[in-house]
Symmetry: D2
Subunit: 341 residues, 4 copies
């Protein structure tokens, strides 16, 4: 059987989450997030982020971003991202579908910079242009890099200076937590809104949207329902977070994923392989010769990132199911294929 390094959403969920489902199978719960599991999961998150934020559990990442951005912006307002930002490239125009322009500047190793924000703000000065009103970043980024605490703080201060909201997409927050010095509570302090990813961090699905800024809390459930994100069985979206937020479980998922990814990176570097970005998290982007790629795919699934003429950037992702033995196998296979070709 092939092992997949294609992504971190190929297995159903942590065993503990499936156990919890079975444990609760005879319950009757109130719908639409008014239930006890939701309450418990919210409180566990509030404990971790040390903030009395509002929290909602939503089915997937794109719709979470839509609800967040669509709830913050007025029709003529725009969101600033970096060019490689998920909302700019990989959401089939969902944000524009809500009526908002995504303004973008060049990324630096996958990251948005204060400079980039200010260039955009300074270029948008009157009502013949959109008005930038929020900043979108993700941690970890699309290229596996992470913001440091001082970078996050600087972006937040820059946003506030220009009267912008800061929103952080945490699809892979477990991995970011384990790779950066930004702690849970910093996300509550230095963002106006952010989400804690479930789908890509061991849940069967679900993201926890956290609203820190009081101005943005009002009538939020209207937005969720209007944009199509209200789930009748809210408790089913909450249960994974009830489990993930137990002790250090969520952090440890990221930690283990990152360790496997760094182990892989070291192994490939020893083979002389170069990388497309500097990643500290569970996504790594080696540049491999095209002539081994088809054969490699017979044993290991991966994703193409940038196809080149002689060599290509591909992406390997470790997940909560990845073990060192899988990585060892992958390194050996690549090593063998390189020698053979």
């Amino acid at each position: 059987m092939k092992y997949s390094f294609k992504n971190d959403y190929s297995s159903i969920a942590l065993d503990e989450i499936l156990d919890k489902l079975r444990e609760c199978k005879d319950e009757q719960n109130i719908g639409y997030g008014e239930d006890t599991h939701t309450e418990i999961a919210k409180n566990k998150i509030r404990d971790k982020i040390k903030s009395n934020s509002d929290i909602y559990f939503i089915a997937g990442g794109t719709i979470t971003n839509m609800i967040a951005i669509g709830s913050i912006l007025k029709p003529y307002e725009a969101v600033i991202a970096c060019d490689s930002g998920h909302i700019n490239v990989h959401e089939t125009g969902a944000i524009e579908g809500l009526g908002h322009k995504v303004l973008y500047s060049d990324n630096v190793n996958g990251k948005l910079t204060c400079d980039g924000i200010e260039r955009i703000v300074n270029a948008h000065t009157d009502h013949h242009m959109v008005k930038p009103k929020m900043v979108y970043i993700s941690n970890a980024t699309e290229l596996g890099s992470v913001y440091t605490l001082s970078e996050l703080r600087a972006l937040y201060n820059c946003a506030k200076k220009h009267d912008l909201y800061l929103y952080l997409d945490g699809a892979r927050l477990a991995s970011a937590l384990a790779a950066s010095d930004i702690k849970y509570e910093d996300y509550a302090k230095y963002t106006d809104m952010f989400y804690i990813g479930g789908t890509k961090c061991g849940a069967y699905f679900g993201e926890a949207l956290v609203i820190n800024n009081d101005e943005l809390k009002n009538e939020f459930q209207y937005y969720i329902k209007h944009f199509g994100g209200m789930i009748a069985k809210g408790f089913v979206t909450a249960i994974p977070f009830e489990v993930l937020m137990d002790g250090d479980r969520y952090y440890n998922i990221g930690k283990k994923e990152n360790e496997c990814a760094q182990y892989l990176t070291q192994g490939l570097k020893k083979l002389g392989i170069k990388f497309y970005s500097e990643s500290l998290t569970n996504q790594v982007f080696p540049i491999l010769p095209n002539n081994i790629l088809d054969e490699l795919y017979n044993d290991y699934l991966y994703e193409y990132w940038v196809k080149g003429e002689k060599e290509s950037v591909i992406r390997f992702v470790t997940s909560f199911t990845t073990e060192k033995k899988h990585v060892d196998g992958l390194i050996e296979t690549i090593s063998r294929l390189i020698k053979q070709n």
Copy 2:
């Protein structure tokens, strides 16, 4: 412990579905609906509806309706529903949020009529008004009634005569299947698109959107992603349908729910209680004196439908977990409360 007749989405899922999750827990699957579970679930549905329709699994009912309607209509086109239709009342303007007017006519026992459709079509004749282009119905309806096969056929013919698409919301299709003479294959024949409800029929979440009309199949995944309905772990949405579509399981869920609901209706009628609508399915709408309602809520959860001064319409819903003993308890309690008050 209180028993809840509040709705049919208060328990997690059928045991068989939870078993299946556990059975598959060590698998790695391709994302975004390209996996084997999705393929199997689609084929089971195709067998049942005897049609080579395109099928997609989507997280919830509102977003499924948004994707269906948003994919069919051009900006200036409108959808016809009855006044009590879910998209008209209970989706927080999600359809209008996509830019489309919902035109509605009076319901007859919860149902849209050909007459109602034609009155609307005839009133919209030029480009100073929206252009009606599709019909929305649900089976079962919001009031628990069901369309018969001859009614569905007549609506479909009426739609085709006026160049309208017919879309059917099957949030409670299990219940409708067991209460009406419309069979699976009729839904493929007499609608352009419909969905088979999971969330309210025993799945932890998920709806199966079925596209019968070839004109509507093209580039459909773009719509799903653009409107925010694309789920990374597609297999998690498909697995419940893999289980539900086994043999007569889905039909039997509806059958059992309906039997409990009819048993409840008969019991309440014997107490002289009148009903707001004629329901053959798992939602029933008795009219109860206000002076017993608070006490009743101590033992059984229900939902208010229409609050009156002396008496109110309330809704009881049976679900896949409801047993006759629960219904017996409910009838007894109401009987006792009526006598006491």
Copy 3:
């Protein structure tokens, strides 16, 4: 030559407006409403309404309604109108195109009532439904009737009681001013926003949108541009209002139109003709036998309102160019045709 009673927008403009254009033809003006004509026209309006409201000149009625409603409502909020309201029927779903539901109740002689508003407000109580947030009325109404001052005040108070904004569409405000006891300054007092119609009141085009409520003034030009309503030559939209707002000219246009329309109504009533609505303004809706309608159209243009089997409602509109002699001719022709048939 046929004379047209089809509408009040069939002639280019008042002579005085065309004279003014010629008078200013050698000027250079700043664009986008920053010019002197715009300033003068605004000040003339402010004098009349006795309020320091913000004022913008916009090309046409539908886009003015879009900008007004689109600037007031959040995505999940809705506007309340009566069933016959222009935004509900005759704008090809432009308001829904912005994402907002139009909630409507039955009209009473073309008018929305406090009762109607409250029924809608009371039916929309939670986040599974849209949230009503503004009221739309027009004066004169689509059926030629007008609100009285006490009715307007009552609607305004009702709106405020339920935390709704009141917006008034004044496409035919000249006619309403001359037919009702509501004065210019009352429109500033008892609405949050309204517009003074130009297109249907003697201007070549243009409407003056007046924002009375301070909360709604902020960054308004962004909305105008974003929704497509910003005109480069703002002074061309302002000049008609510079002329119309001179002394009583605007009021007198309405007065003369109404007099012609009432004269027509009296003449037709003497012939035993009945009317579809009670109109005090420049639109009247007689019910005429079908067998004279084709012949009548040879001499006079009119519009069908409701086609019946034996008789139909048609609409006659008087405009700033209508003289009593045109009305005399119309009455005589109808009288003759009735006798002949």
Copy 4:
């Protein structure tokens, strides 16, 4: 009195257009573009473009672009422009407001290139990204440059190769016609849709949207009304085109504007002044020392384009009212100011 080189929309209209208004002042016309002036203006355009295209007269440029793009694209489809394109920068997100992403590539002297289009097409390959479906260019461009016939043909062929529609914004088409070898009929041949600008070419307002591709003609008036662009007095929008399309009048406006602009360019070059772009049309972009700019503004209005620390790019625009004497005065003033400072 100051003379304004700020833009080409500071004077009301050509004398001949104002004369025509007065000539027609006693007419009654049918509304909404069903009148004789509209018919005549359309036919004059059809004669010039040698094509039986559908034509609509719309109030302004932004709303024309909205209607064009909004009628062509499905929700998930996107339009390709160059970075400096009007829809990308100067329309306050109006296109995104309709739900569509504007994809852009670097301009080359204000122009979009086939290379730029292909880079974007090749980067958008699946349903996780928007689907590019049309190309937007303007002639003349925002930087005063023009496409040649061979460039237009190449862009059109590139578009067709990739199944994209080509739409051309002709806000300053008079100027482009006089500066490039593209003739009227080429715009009908090598675009799917384009508009002939009125507002910036001597009309009081109005643009003529021309639909060449039969696929795009269907039910177009629904789009116009739905997006807010339907003008009741259609004849008022058509009359300027009835006049402008007489003989070579429209072309000659552009010719004279261009001559004044080139005369200005030559004069400034003699003073050693450099330019930001190579313009052949009525907009020129000299780079002037900041220390003369305030004083210059005392005598001549202009617009800032790029503010620099020591020198800035400003824009001078010639219009249908500009005479050589105005240009002489401007050159002299700049010459004097440079010497003094």
